[in-house]
């Protein structure tokens, strides 16, 4: 392994660690009531997000989903504004107006993490259209789950990207479940990637627990997109450990030993073993884990120290100009 490859590998490991530790901490403080609302965690899917984003440049676009914590971190976002957003603070990446389902950092190319399933697909197609018209060489990558592929928006977005040969990459993070409904009962084909055939779109199925494999698959798709070859569909076979939202569905969904089986193929554990086997010293990885722990703790401290938005700020960002503030709010 060359130094360059090694740096890249360590960066992948670091980003997966960031996601995992960020969410572990978020889950702990959510349980104590410090984070309001629902928490949709990405744990188990880290290799999918990080592998895909490592194949992109910072200025490339990305659209994601309600399971929004992993994508921005995978693309290189700073943790402080993300944690502050979870706590509903004014310093949050969305100024406290988005929360757990909308951790979208436009400074790293995000164009939204949307909580209406499937609705990001046409948006990503449109961003790719913008890139193509501007001739700027950027690509747009869209993350969505298995459940989204039953939405009309998914099919319409894929069709538009295909007919216009747009520089788009559609990454289906197939974690096996739409809330509690298994993909096996909601999708009539074995591999969701088969659906790309209907749009004449090449597809790749990849082990979503293997960050290098995901990166290689998406890199191939990115290369096709940048060179005018149009969109590609990538299905990452992955798994989420938690319920649809943390602690939401224990009664609804008993997945039995399945979770433990998938934990055997935990993407962080697999990658750590792979790096060590390739000659990386364990203490280098330990140090990364420690650095990430400090980073996550710092993010939480920042979030805790930050102020909540003022009531007036609820009227900002509906339009470019602030809305008038009603009398009952002023009083």
């Amino acid at each position: 392994m060359t130094d360059g490859q090694n740096d890249r590998s360590l960066e992948k490991y670091r980003r997966m660690q960031r996601i995992r530790q960020f969410e572990d901490l978020a889950e702990a403080i959510h349980a104590q009531g410090e984070i309001p609302g629902a928490l949709h965690t990405y744990a188990g899917q880290e290799a999918s997000g990080v592998g895909a984003c490592m194949a992109l440049n910072t200025e490339d676009y990305m659209v994601g989903t309600h399971r929004s914590h992993g994508h921005p971190i995978a693309k290189g976002a700073k943790l402080r504004p993300l944690m502050a957003e979870l706590l509903g603070k004014a310093t949050g990446i969305c100024k406290g107006k988005g929360g757990s389902m909308h951790l979208s950092d436009f400074s790293v190319g995000s164009l939204g993490e949307t909580s209406i399933v499937g609705s990001g697909v046409p948006v990503a197609a449109g961003a790719a259209l913008g890139s193509k018209m501007q001739g700027n060489g950027r690509v747009a990558l869209c993350f969505f789950g298995d459940g989204a592929t039953n939405e009309g928006a998914f099919h319409e977005g894929l069709n538009i990207a295909a007919i216009w040969k747009l520089p788009a990459i559609f990454v289906c993070e197939n974690n096996g479940y739409a809330v509690s409904t298994p993909a096996s009962v909601a999708v009539p084909v074995k591999d969701i990637a088969e659906r790309a055939k209907a749009y004449g779109m090449p597809s790749i199925i990849v082990d979503g627990q293997d960050v290098d494999a995901v990166e290689a698959a998406v890199a191939e798709a990115v290369e096709r997109a940048r060179t005018g070859g149009g969109p590609t569909f990538v299905e990452t076979k992955t798994y989420r450990y938690a319920d649809h939202a943390v602690n939401m569905g224990r009664i609804l969904l008993d997945r039995g030993a399945e979770v433990d089986e998938w934990r055997e193929r935990d993407p962080l554990k697999l990658y750590r073993a792979k790096l060590i086997a390739a000659g990386t010293a364990a203490d280098i990885l330990d140090r990364i884990e420690k650095e990430v722990a400090d980073e996550v703790a710092d993010a939480l401290q920042f979030a805790r120290d930050s102020a909540y938005p003022t009531q007036e700020e609820a009227f900002d960002d509906v339009f470019v100009d602030r809305l008038p503030i009603p009398d009952f709010i002023k009083a």
Binding site: V63, D105, I116, S119, G126
Partner: protein, 330 residues
């Protein structure tokens, strides 16, 4: 100054803005074949990259317009008929209206979605919607419903230059009406600014879209009876020029709203409530609403026409309202 029609005003506004700013492009169903005449000569002028025919896929291409606008383009979507916005409600309501807000101002969506109100001509219920009011119930969408060619051109140009999403509703009953049009390529009418279409002292008729020419016709007849009606055209519903409405009603003491939409939760109803809430002490009678009857639009022309607002219904309401003054004053 040349006289141009409402449809020609749309064509000119688009042509001028696409010429001025290469980020502006137009897409929609059958744009190239140019169904209503608002894109005549566009492919020749701008090519098929900026004049895009789309599949019949409203949620897809309206969502794509949202995505393109977020990365610096300024799309105009021609959605043809306003009834065709329904398949795209997902993108309009959840993405276009809310993205700027939920991402704390990181997103900007400068796009215009045009569609016509295609009623009054035996197209039956699924093609005859006057549905702008529905979109007023979700923050984040600017909404314009101009009634003259002059307003159409100035406002559409302003909408294209606006950094917020704008829904432009084009009343097909106004399509052939003509205005003197300024030659200034920067002729703009800002959204949120209403217009007094006729001054009067006895009552205010606040009319929307195709209701405006009906109100003007009614006002001309009422004038012969000695009733002086003021006709107020809000021109845009979001933002709504509340002051021009309230100022007029405070002056006249009477108000009638005219709205081609169905009455329940219509823009006319919202304006009536606004008047009742903020100009109550000036009122000398109830605020009356003229809207479309609360049934679907039928195909057969003999039973379709009577459902809509008409000059006769406005005249009748005005007479009752002015008559009420004598009762009250006595």
């Amino acid at each position: 100054m040349a006289k141009v029609t409402f449809l020609e005003a749309i064509r000119q506004a688009q042509m001028e803005e696409m010429t001025r700013d290469e980020r502006v492009f137009i897409m929609g169903e059958d744009i190239i074949c140019n169904v209503f005449g608002t894109t005549t000569g566009f492919v020749e002028a701008f090519g098929t990259e900026r004049v895009r025919d789309t599949p019949i896929s409203e949620n897809g291409f309206i969502g794509a317009a949202a995505g393109a606008s977020m990365v610096g383009m300024r799309p105009i979507v021609d959605a043809t008929i306003s009834s065709f916005l329904y398949p795209a409600m997902d993108q309009i309501m959840s993405i276009i209206a809310k993205s700027r807000y939920i991402y704390g101002g990181q997103a900007r969506l400068p796009l215009v979605i045009r569609s016509c109100l295609f009623y009054g001509n035996s197209n039956a219920a699924q093609h005859s919607d006057r549905n702008y009011s529905m979109f007023m119930n979700v923050p984040g969408l600017k909404i314009m419903v101009p009634s003259t060619a002059y307003d159409m051109k100035g406002m559409l140009k302003a909408a294209v230059r606006d950094d917020d999403p704008v829904l432009c509703f084009e009343d097909s009953t106004c399509w052939t009406s003509k205005s003197d049009m300024p030659d200034d390529p920067d002729f703009l009418i800002p959204l949120g600014k209403g217009d007094i279409k006729r001054e009067g002292t006895d009552l205010s008729i606040i009319a929307i879209g195709g209701g405006v020419p009906l109100a003007l016709k009614a006002a001309a007849t009422l004038a012969k009876e000695g009733i002086s009606a003021e006709v107020v055209d809000p021109r845009s519903l979001v933002p709504l020029d509340k002051e021009i409405i309230l100022r007029s009603v405070r002056k006249t003491g009477r108000a009638i709203t005219v709205d081609p939409a169905h009455q329940s939760c219509s823009a006319g109803s919202e304006i009536a409530a606004l008047i009742a809430e903020h100009a109550f002490s000036s009122l000398r009678g109830p605020v009356l609403r003229i809207a479309t009857a609360e049934t679907h639009v039928p195909f057969s022309p003999l039973i379709e026409k009577a459902l809509y607002p008409s000059a006769e219904r406005i005249i009748d309401a005005a007479r009752r309202l002015v008559g009420a003054r004598e009762t009250v004053d006595a």
